[in-house]
Amino acid sequence: MRVPYSWLKDYVDVELPVAELAHRLTMAGLEVDRVDYGWPGIVTAQILWQERIKGSDHLWATRVTTGTEELSVVCGAPNIQVRDKVPLARVGAKVGEITIGEKRAMGVLSQGMLCSPRELGLSDDHAGILILPPDTPLGVPLGAVIGEPVIDLDIKAHRGDLFCMVGVAREVAAFTGKTLRPPTIAVKEKGTAAAKLMKLEVRDAELCPRYTARVIRNVTVGPSPQWMADRLIAAGMRPINNVVDITNYVMLELGQPLHAFDYDKVADHTIVVRRAAPGETLTTLDGVTRHLTAEMLLITDPAGPNVIAGIFGGARVEVSETTTSVLLEAAHFKPTNIRRTSVTLGLRTESSGRFEKGPDVELTALAVDRAAQLLAELADGGVAPGRVDFYPHPVTQRALTFEPGQVPWLTGMTVTRNEVIDSLSALGFGVGDAVPGGADETLRVTVPTWRGDVEESADLVEEVARIAGYERIPSTIPTGPLPQPSRDPWFRREDRIREVLAGAGLTETVSYTLTSRAAMASLLPGVGGRDELLLAAPAPGMRADDAGETGDTASVAVSGRAAERRAIAALAERLPAIALVNPLSSELGVLRLTLMSGLLDIVRENAKHSDAGLWFFELGRRYLPTAELATGTGLADERHTLAIAMSGPLVQSWAAPDRDADFSGLKGVVETLLGALKVAGYRFTPTRHPTFHPGRAALLEVAIAHGGELTSEGGGGEIVESAWAPVAVLGEVHPDVAERFDLTKRTYLMEMDLERLYLAVPETVRQMPIARYPAAQRDLAVVVPQDVPAAEVEAAIHASGAPLVRGVRLFDVYTGAGIPEGRKSLAYAITYQSPERTLTDAEVERTQAAIVATLRERFGAEPRG
């Protein structure tokens, strides 16, 4: 709210410089957005030198200073002299409709403009430049010197009482220790009583608890006096005519919105306050026909609706140039109803904003009296005696008992009982001893009717503390007991993941959790594989429909981009994403079901300006719908998730060959992570997933032990008796998908459900003794059919070499010369060790022979070399 300083001074004797007052207001909880001095860009300056420009009969070249800077200004006025102090409009300032720019006049540079009173809007004087008093400081805003500073306050919603000059003045009086001086209201009445001139019928006392009216006759409608127009402009309102201006002026002064009707146009001089009839409409002053509902309150007369109560009026009974009698309304409407109506109609007005905040119900009588007084004084009106007032249930003041000790109890601040009494009294609270005679400290505090926000002790503590000043609150460290230790290590784990992945060369992203269905559907080229694992629970029908009909076929049977887009759109519709009813845009319309589409977007965008490796990871949530969410009995399933995308060479060095991201690189990163988290049992198996290359996709499963102890040793294949839980899919992005995301390089992608992964992460690490007896190492190369998975060979080595095989490391995979077509050579380094004794060569050879025999039998393997 805009508060012109001079207006404020009408009600409280405050002499503080405006900047100081602004600071004090802020520190009392009335946040000052800014002080508007007017004339932005116009500062005080002093003439240093002047000379007539050759060849011109009226232009002067001047040199001026702002105290910190010297400028050249060309000026046409005859009245300035060296050492005069003048207003300087700097480059960029607006003077009237002109924006000042740097220019040349008759070849002389001009970096601003010196202003006349007329150019500043001060008067019609355009004979010369405004000369400021000699003691004017230099380089300060002109408004700070001669203007009307306006304090722009950001009033919080609970303090409806502060949306007016008197309300702000009351606060200023309280924290400066001055006396509040509200306007003196005295109405001279004459003629027929108002009660005989009009009728009032309020049919809904719940929505309209009070309606107060006055009638003023023989008014002369015309322009307001200049002082009133100036104040309204300074406060941000447009002067219209004296009658309307007076209602606005009183609203700004006291906080009560008023409405002025043309008395003679009100049918039967009768005001009826009622709910709208179903289907009723009203064309408001902006020419829009509003469709009303029975939830909305109207001010009507027997001829029809006139005003949407407290919000906006229609034209029929408005005050005009020809109005001679005025019916003034000051009412109180139920705030929540005003708010609802205003939201429903999309209609926010100065008046509705105030009614929403619930002004003081006691104000209406005061406000009509004040307006009647001003109409008599400024529009020659004759005020009809008496108010017409509907007020069936006068408000009672709330009374609270208040322990002054509550202030230090809650704030730690020391205040005296007298300080408590003084600050509350200054704010308009009634304060007395709770027990007559002041036998104990307890106070009885009555809450003024304009402070509906004060309901209990804590509210009073705040009032006392802010008038005393929050700077009096000391600074201490809590000494209370600590809570029970928290057991949930999710953050520590996530931070560990960050550390490991950043250490492996990946960069963390944080992307929008809102996306579009289409973006996610682009990951699925219409193939419903058996693993939409990480795309949530598939929509009803999605799995059943698609799995059967497409099976192993990896591409969509659609021709051309348009058909493909249609297919994606159809698929998108079926994605079970949680949708917003009021999204910012359709691109941000649903919560993501996967992090993968977002990461691919990031890879594409970065590829536009980088040919280096784009290796990214993101830790975030997927938002899966639940049956409970659908029925309003529960929330979404928000799953902590990790996604990785890798594309291009991470290392680009003269000292090492570039190596593009590839499947084993991605898998290596995942294995490194599993090792760092001490996940003991895991396996990768080939899988099909619509997002991935059909021959280059793996499912990661972890072993979740049932009661068994998992050791901290990494590696796969050792766990037999446990359940395998799928936690991630990884692989090369399917070329169809890559095309759709405009990826130019092969990209490798993984998404992992961390909540499932954590089931396999041990809480603590237990060390194993270092083996005491020496290990023996033997190499074994075997030739097996191309399609035998390496993991199965490795598992077979472990199984057939048990218990002496301690470790198996694949060190070479070879096809080509010397190896028959359709076969491959796998070379392993096998470590043999016993925890009980040193192994003999013979034992080792025997075991290795057993392994070879098993591999031959299982896979048709032939030892090589």
């Binding site: 946040e31 002790s457 804590a458 928290s486 950043a502 060369g505 992203t509 944080v510 000292a655």
Partner: protein, 349 residues
């Protein structure tokens, strides 16, 4: 005493002279061995020959020549060893010279990724608050109207709802949380005092996105409930937090404000980290930077979760994590955090 040298002595001197000259010309290990064999070889070495021939000399002469010959041998042995050392040193030096590298070539860097600046800020917050006993809790982003608003003393039709434009999933019922404050309620329902909790996470506002506003951003919320705390403790904790995050010299200012779920309420500012309070563009010439909101937990909220407000007191505070990171790293565009441009992310450790 200038007795004429014997014939043998003259021969020895000549041999020595010749051997020394030849040794100086030797440049290889093989040459050295050849030289040694020639003069000092056990079988056919010239000096060895002279020593072997001593027996043929007269006894008086034998002694003198024997001494001289042994002296020459010791001399030659010494010179041989010196020459050997010199050659070895030269060879090593030559070998090292051949291995000379251009040390100005770039090293083989171990590739390193980058943790997002928001994550780094969050990590610091968790540490700083952890040191004061605050434990991290995680909660839902898809929330109910009850937790996000009503339990926080914001009933339907409350004007405070205007301050937080809400994304609705089911209007009036399910929404995306507009603040981390609903976790205050979850935490208090989940445990009995004492409570020291922080919550960090995404919040959502249906607002137009620009250089300083995001529709999705991150907040941290702190909550402490026990039987002894006051607003002075709130100030102490917030000051400690601000100084850990922005420097030990930071001043913190509390000013009255309004939040429906705290009473008394306060906003807190820090003195501008750019101009140290003198006034600049960053702080809009006020010298202060608005940081967040705080206050004593409203008794209505405490009663709502079954805590007796005449026994338990508590404070809560909340602030935006993007704002913290922007100030710490000098970022003036909030969208930089969600754009995920590697050229931006790479600048962080």
């Amino acid at each position: 005493m200038t007795t004429a040298q014997t014939q043998e002595e003259q021969a020895l001197a000549a041999l020595r002279e010749r051997a020394v000259a030849e040794l100086a010309a030797v440049t290889t290990g093989d040459g050295l061995e050849e030289w040694r064999t020639r003069y000092l070889g056990r079988e056919r070495g010239e000096l060895t020959g002279i020593l072997k021939g001593l027996g043929k000399l007269a006894p008086d002469q034998r002694k003198a020549v024997g001494q001289a010959a042994n002296a020459v041998k010791a001399d030659l042995d010494r010179l041989l060893e010196e020459r050997r050392q010199a050659l070895r040193a030269a060879e090593r030096a030559a070998a090292l010279e051949r291995e000379r590298l251009d040390v100005t070539l770039p090293g083989r860097v171990i590739p390193r990724g980058h943790v997002h600046p928001l994550s780094q800020t969050i990590r610091d917050i968790v540490r700083v608050m952890g040191e004061m006993g605050f434990q991290l809790y995680d909660g839902p982003e898809v929330e109910t109207d009850y937790y996000n608003f009503q339990a926080l003393n914001i009933p339907p039709d409350h004007p405070a709802r205007d301050m937080q434009d809400t994304f609705w999933i089911a209007p009036g019922q399910i929404l995306l949380r507009t603040q981390t404050s609903p976790m205050q309620i979850h935490v208090m329902e989940h445990m009995r005092p004492p409570v020291r909790a922080i919550v960090i996470g995404k919040v959502y506002r249906n607002e137009a996105i620009d250089a300083s506003h995001e529709a999705i951003f991150h907040q941290v919320e702190g909550l402490l409930i026990d039987e002894t705390c006051t607003m002075a403790d709130l100030r102490g904790v917030v000051e400690r937090f601000a100084r850990e995050m922005f420097g030990a010299e930071r001043k913190v200012r509390f000013r009255p404000s309004y939040f429906p779920f705290t009473e008394p309420s306060a906003e807190f500012d820090i003195d501008c980290i750019n101009c140290n309070g003198a006034g600049c563009r960053v702080c809009k010439y006020s010298g202060w930077l608005e940081m967040g909101g705080s206050g004593m937990v409203d008794p209505r909220v405490l009663r709502g979760v079954g805590y007796d407000p005449s026994v338990y007191r508590g404070f809560a505070f909340g602030l935006g994590i993007e704002r913290i990171a922007m100030l710490r790293y000098g970022i003036d565009e909030i969208r930089a955090f969600s754009t995920n441009d590697l050229r931006f992310l790479r600048q962080f450790t």
